[in-house]
Structures are given as C-alpha cells and as structure tokens.
C-alpha cells in the first residue's frame, strides 16, 4: 500500500497486467512518444504522462505508437482483440470518438452478437473525458452516455486512484469490450493504493457514505463532489447516502433502488449533458421501479445543454459544483417541508 496518483495507479495497472499476460499490448498516439524522431524516446508517455516508462520496459512490440488516424488504429485494436491479443488502445480524448465511432459502434460492440456468440473481443479503449482543464469544447466532453447506450460495450468510470487501478485491471481481464473513462482533471489526485494487483468487479456500486435522508448517485469525478456535499450536509443535520456505480454498463440497479427505498429521495449528479445522459437514465430507472418509495421529486444536477466553454469564468459555472449538489439535496428535503430549501 502506498500513496499513488490517479495517473500512477493507471500506469501500475497497465504495467502489472502486461507483466502477467504477454498478450496484453498497448497502442495509441504518442503513448510512448518520439517514435522516428532523433531526440528523446518515450518522450511523453501519453499526453499527460499516464503511459510513461512502459515502452522502456516492454519494448516497441508491446507498446505501439500509432499514426494519427483513429479509424485505422482503433479498428486495428478491435481486429487484434478478435484474433487473440488483448489490446489496450488509447482514444486520446473521448471527443475524438466521432472520427472512429464505426469501429466501436458497428464493429467492436457487435462482433459477438452478429457472429452468433463465437467472437470474443477483449478490447479496452482508454479515453480521457471531462471539463476543468480550460481545454474548450472539443477536448472536454463526457460522452459516456453514448457508449452506455450501445449493447455489447461495457463502460467504467473510476472516481479515484484506488478505483482506477482495480477497474482497469478488471477491464483488461474482462473478455468483453470495455471503454475506460479517465477524468483528465484527476490525474494528480493521490491516495493510498495497494501495490499488489487487485480487481474490482463490474456492476457493483460503491456506497461511499451511508445516510437516512437522501440518496445521491454520482458518476466519475462527481463522486468526490458528492462526498464533499454529503460531509457538509452532515454538519447541517442532513444525512446522505452516496452511491458510486463505478460502471454505467453493467449498472448496479439493485444497490441504487435499495438505497432509494431506504431514503425516499434521490439526487443524481452527472457532468455529462442533461439530454439522454446518465442522470435521466437513473431517474427513469428509479421512477419506474421505486415510485412508491419516493417522497420528493427526483433532482438532477448536470452540466447545461451547452458545449463546454473556454473561458475559466464560464467553465467554472458549467461544471456541477458542491454548492449545486447541496442545493439540490435541500430542495429534495424541502418537499413536504422536512428541511427549509435555503
């Protein structure tokens, strides 16, 4: 056990799985860096250094820099997975999914079903998501709802370094295609992470706080904001259960419904856009299955239906905040006058 950053935890997961299974290879743009150039090799280790050190250890046959053409290298990763390798390919920013989406949507996701159960596609696509970096509209989106929508894919959203290592190891060992979402603003966040390899099962939510009054379901980085809101609300006499589903596909519906049955109130926090996002998905699920348990309308805290703005002043308003989460909880509590809204 030692203190590791989100970045280091992901690097360690990749390294340990590559040590364990020689069929695991990684590929992507500049995941090592300097290929063909005369200067430093392994110059970057990925745009934010996540894959640094892997090429020196495993060599160019297992750590492959690609050309800058997503259709071909994401598709090649899919074809390699289909034929016996276990590739981890990096789609540098999830915003680039439009470039190569067919290879994910119509190829990777559908091989097993279209081919009558005979295909096994153990592909992992690692990708960066999220706002807060001032990277503007084409480098800051979430988009995991789009992948969640597609049968045949699995989607993981680690909320901290411990989750990241365990979920990535699980993703690599999983025989189905997994899209692994890394929030770019969390790479430096540190916590105690075991040094040994470990895996966290998909489809099992983590309940980070237990409470009686409100259930807050949050995704990815938003879990940490939800925890902060819960701790602050606890001092004001409102106790919250916070649920981190860890994976949106498969989704731990059992835990979500169980806690809503207990608290009677639901707030969902999702950095993705409000239309057809995870917030509306969870709200629909709960409204359909736990209607009688609800004592207040479901509250959704999401980004607005707006591209991510550049200016820091605007981006900071765009992203859901601890204050907005607290306000949503109070609004849920004030229905039926349990607690004043303000």
């Amino acid at each position: 056990m030692s203190k590791k950053s989100y970045r280091q935890a992901i690097n360690e997961a990749l390294r340990q799985e590559m040590e364990r299974d020689e069929r695991v290879i990684i590929m992507g743009e500049d995941i090592s860096g300097g290929t063909g150039a005369a200067g430093d090799q392994d110059a970057w280790g990925g745009p934010l250094g996540v894959t640094k050190g892997l090429r020196p250890q495993f060599g160019p046959d297992r750590v492959l820099d690609t050309h800058l053409a997503e259709i071909s290298f994401v598709g090649a990763a899919a074809g390699a997975a289909l034929t016996g390798l276990r590739p981890v390919v990096e789609l540098m920013f999830v915003d680039f999914m439009g470039v190569c989406f067919d290879q994910i949507l119509n190829q990777t996701a559908k091989f097993r079903y279209m081919f009558g159960g005979k295909a096994v596609t153990p592909l992992v696509i690692r990708t960066m998501y999220g706002a807060g970096f001032r990277a503007a509209s084409q480098h800051s989106q979430c988009l995991y709802p789009v992948f969640t929508h597609i049968p045949g894919l699995k989607v993981a959203l680690p909320s901290n370094a411990y989750e990241a290592k365990g979920l990535l190891i699980q993703a690599i060992r999983d025989d189905d295609p997994v899209i692994f979402f890394e929030h770019k603003a969390m790479y430096d966040d540190e916590m105690e992470v075991p040094d040994e390899p470990y895996s966290i099962p998909f489809g099992e939510a983590n309940v980070t706080r237990e409470g009686d009054d409100v259930t807050i379901v949050a995704f990815g980085r938003m879990v940490n904001l939800a925890n902060q809101a819960a701790d602050s609300l606890a001092k004001q006499g409102v106790s919250c259960t916070v649920v981190d589903p860890r994976t949106t596909s498969p989704l731990d519906t059992e835990t979500i419904l169980e806690t809503v049955e207990e608290t009677g109130r639901l707030v969902v926090v999702d950095e993705a856009h409000p239309r057809c996002g995870m917030a509306s998905d969870i709200a629909g699920l709960v409204a359909e299955n736990a209607f009688d348990a609800l004592e207040a309308p479901i509250k959704l805290v999401t980004a607005p239906h707006v591209p991510v703005p550049f200016s820091p002043a605007l981006e900071d308003i765009y992203i859901p905040s601890v204050a907005k989460i607290e306000a949503a909880v109070r609004a849920a509590m004030s229905h039926g006058s349990k607690v004043a809204a303000e």
Partner: protein, 401 residues
C-alpha cells in the same frame, strides 16, 4: 483508592501503569490543577485523529477512566477514556474535526480554578504545540521483507534490546489488528507485527493453509530477523499458530499470550467465516464484522472498506478459502490444541472477551491452573482492540515474569 463513579474491573489496577498511550498519569501529576486532554497515539503510524463525538459537557465532572469521547482514525474507531479526573473546563476541538496526535482536545481542572487561568493554559499550550514531524525519518511504517522465500509485510518498532514481542493476527485480518497494542509494548520491547501469509501485504501464495504450515512461515520470519526467542501474542487463529510454535519449537518462545484462541474447543461461528469470505459488498459484509465486537459502533466504514480492499487483491480469496478449509468445517474447528496446552514450557496466559460471538469464552474453562485466564466484560472477539489498555497491561505483565 476509590474514585467516584469509577467502574470496578476484574483486571487488577491496570491504571497504575504509566503506558504513555494517552492513558492515565502518575499520582503526583494527578494533583496538579489544570490538565490537558490530548489526541492519543493509537498505533505507530497514526499521525492524526478525528474527534467524532464528545460524550461529556463542559462543567461536568469526569472521572479517571470514564468514556469522554469517540475518536476515529483512518484505521479504527474507539471510545477514549479520560486520563485525568476533574471538571471539564474547555472542549477545544469540535465534533468532526481532525487534529494531529498530541493536539489539545480539552482541558480538565479542579472546579475552583479561575476562567482566566484556564484561558492562559490553553493559549500557552497552543502556542507551544508542534505536531510531530509527519512522515519523517522517525515515522514508523510497515515494510516488506523476505523471509523463507516469502514476501512478508511487517511493522517493527521499539528499542533494539529486550525480549521481542511478536504479534500474530487472526483469520482475515492483518497487522493493523494490533494498532492499539503495538505502540504501548514498543515503549520497552522490540515489537514486530506481521501479516501472515495469505493476508495483508504478505505473499498470497499458499500451498497449505494449516496452522502447522503458517507456524513454519512464522518461524522462517523469526529466523530471518534473528529473533532467537520472542513473546508471541496471537489472536484467534494467530493464537493457535503461536501455541503450535510453542509446542514444536519451545526454545524459541519466551512467553505466550493467547487472545481468544482457536483450538481450545470444538465450536466456531461458521457463519462468520462463511460470511467474511463470501460477501463482497460493504452493506452485506458489515453484519459479519459486527460479530467481532461487543459494541457495533467500533466497526467503522473504513474498517469494512479495508477488508473489502484486501479481499480484492490477487490471490487473497484463494488463500482465505484454503485457510478456512484447512482449519474450519462449518461450525466445527479442525484445530485441536487443548490437550497439549499443558505441555507448553513457557509462561502462558489467555485473554478472552466475555461476549465473544465467534469463539466462545468458555473454551478457556478447565485448563491447567498454571495458565492464567482473564475474561473481560463488555468485549467480544477482538478484545485486544476493544479493551486495549487492559490487554496491554496483561501482555506487559507476562513479559515481566
């Protein structure tokens, strides 16, 4: 000496020892007028703690040993008993606040001390207080060593001379089981706490989960560390391992403290073993961990998380299952040491919590009379955590005989 409101205990006069663990103070010091209550150091690695709840108000008289607050660290939650007698004059730290070890939590004094003197005391204390250097060279943290070809994680502390004390945890636990005990014993003895094979951060490779195999691994550790003899303190399955070492390698054992030991009777709560192994979610695991204690509040969310994190490690589940299969069969123990306990040469004592729901305390009945048996009220299976000061005193006393 009688102290108003103090509950009598079956353990004789433990409070007369100056343990330096945030516990009681010398008699002459008790007579001074203003005394600080500071954040205790529970565990060698502890750097800060959170005052979860005050259970006394300003103006109330507190008695030595009275429970006055609940404290939580990243590892553990426990009630904190007052080290002093007097009237609580200030609650310096609020509920939910986290402060470093040694920081001022509250102030107790004789009732007639003026407010302004109490204020002075607080101000001076806060001005002079420097938290111990965080994570510096002096920080004692677990490390991994090679012993008998195995990776063993251990926490070592204390002086270089003296009879070493070696702590052996129970099934599914790890060296942090001894968080409230190790620091106390490290005052005067070299202390080692290890993660047994299959547990914590030690190797998960386990061909044989039997007590004998685990005992051999512990002996390998003692050999690798140059521990010719040691006072073995074992809990539950760890106690059975310790007793096995005492029987098979008597020259290596200077003393034996068995805390709620396995192997002294037929029964074990098979539900606990099965539930511990099978549950992978916090809410479903919690009731099984609550079987370990008399007061369920001691089982914090962090504690449950630590168990889950351990079980997710590669090889951990296989190791647990191997050990369970080797040593337990449903509600019956396979380990059987009762008949041979009398053969142990070294001094032996047994400590048990009266309310133990995993291994019944009556397993300690009708043992050879030279084995001292202490049962402690209001304590369950992990009595060494629930009643640490009492257990520490017992360990120390055996070490002195």
């Amino acid at each position: 000496m009688t102290i108003e409101g103090h509950q009598p205990r079956r353990v004789p006069n433990w409070w007369e020892d100056d343990a330096g663990d945030g516990g009681p103070v010398e008699e002459e010091e008790r007579m001074a007028t203003i005394r600080p209550i500071t954040m205790p150091k529970w565990g060698l690695a502890m750097e800060e703690g959170m005052l979860a709840r005050w259970t006394v108000d300003v103006g109330e008289t507190v008695a030595l040993g009275q429970e006055i607050m609940d404290i939580e660290t990243t590892k553990i939650a426990n009630v904190f008993e007052s080290p002093v007698t007097g009237v609580l004059r200030r609650r310096v730290v609020g509920e939910g606040d986290t402060v470093p070890v040694g920081a001022l939590l509250g102030v107790v004094s004789e009732p007639d001390v003026p407010e302004v003197e109490v204020d002075d005391f607080v101000r001076q204390f806060l001005e002079q207080f420097k938290p111990a250097e965080q994570g510096g060279a002096t920080a004692v943290v677990p490390e991994t060593v090679e012993a008998g070809g195995r990776r063993i994680r251990r926490l070592k502390a204390g002086p270089d001379t003296g009879v070493p004390v070696l702590f052996l945890h129970g099934f599914g636990a790890d060296l942090s089981s001894w968080t409230l005990n190790q620091a106390a014993l490290a005052e005067e003895h070299p202390v080692h706490a290890i993660d047994l094979p299959g547990h914590g951060g030690s190797t998960k490779e386990l061909s044989d989960g039997s007590v004998e195999a685990l005992a051999a691994a512990v002996l390998d550790y003692m050999d690798a560390e140059g521990l010719d003899t040691a006072h073995l303190v074992g809990h539950s399955l760890g106690a059975a391992i310790a007793a096995t070492i005492a029987l098979d390698a008597p020259a290596r054992v200077a003393g034996l403290t068995l805390v709620a030991p396995a192997g002294l009777g037929e029964e074990i709560a098979g539900d606990f073993i099965d539930g511990f192994i099978s549950q992978s979610r916090a809410r479903k695991l919690r009731p099984y961990l609550e079987m370990l204690v008399a007061n369920p509040d001691l089982v914090t969310a962090e504690m449950v998380e630590e168990v889950l994190k351990f079980k997710r490690l590669d090889g951990a589940m296989a190791a647990l299952q191997a050990i369970a299969e080797a040593n337990f069969a449903g509600d019956t123990q396979r380990v059987s040491l009762r008949q041979r306990l009398g053969d142990i040469q070294a001094p032996v004592q047994i400590v048990w919590g009266e309310s133990d729901r995993v291994l019944p305390a009556r397993h300690a009945e009708a043992l050879p009379p030279h084995i001292q048996v202490t049962t402690i009220a209001n304590a369950g299976h992990i009595v060494h955590m629930e009643k640490a000061p009492e257990v520490n005193a017992l360990i120390r006393r055996l070490g002195e005989t």
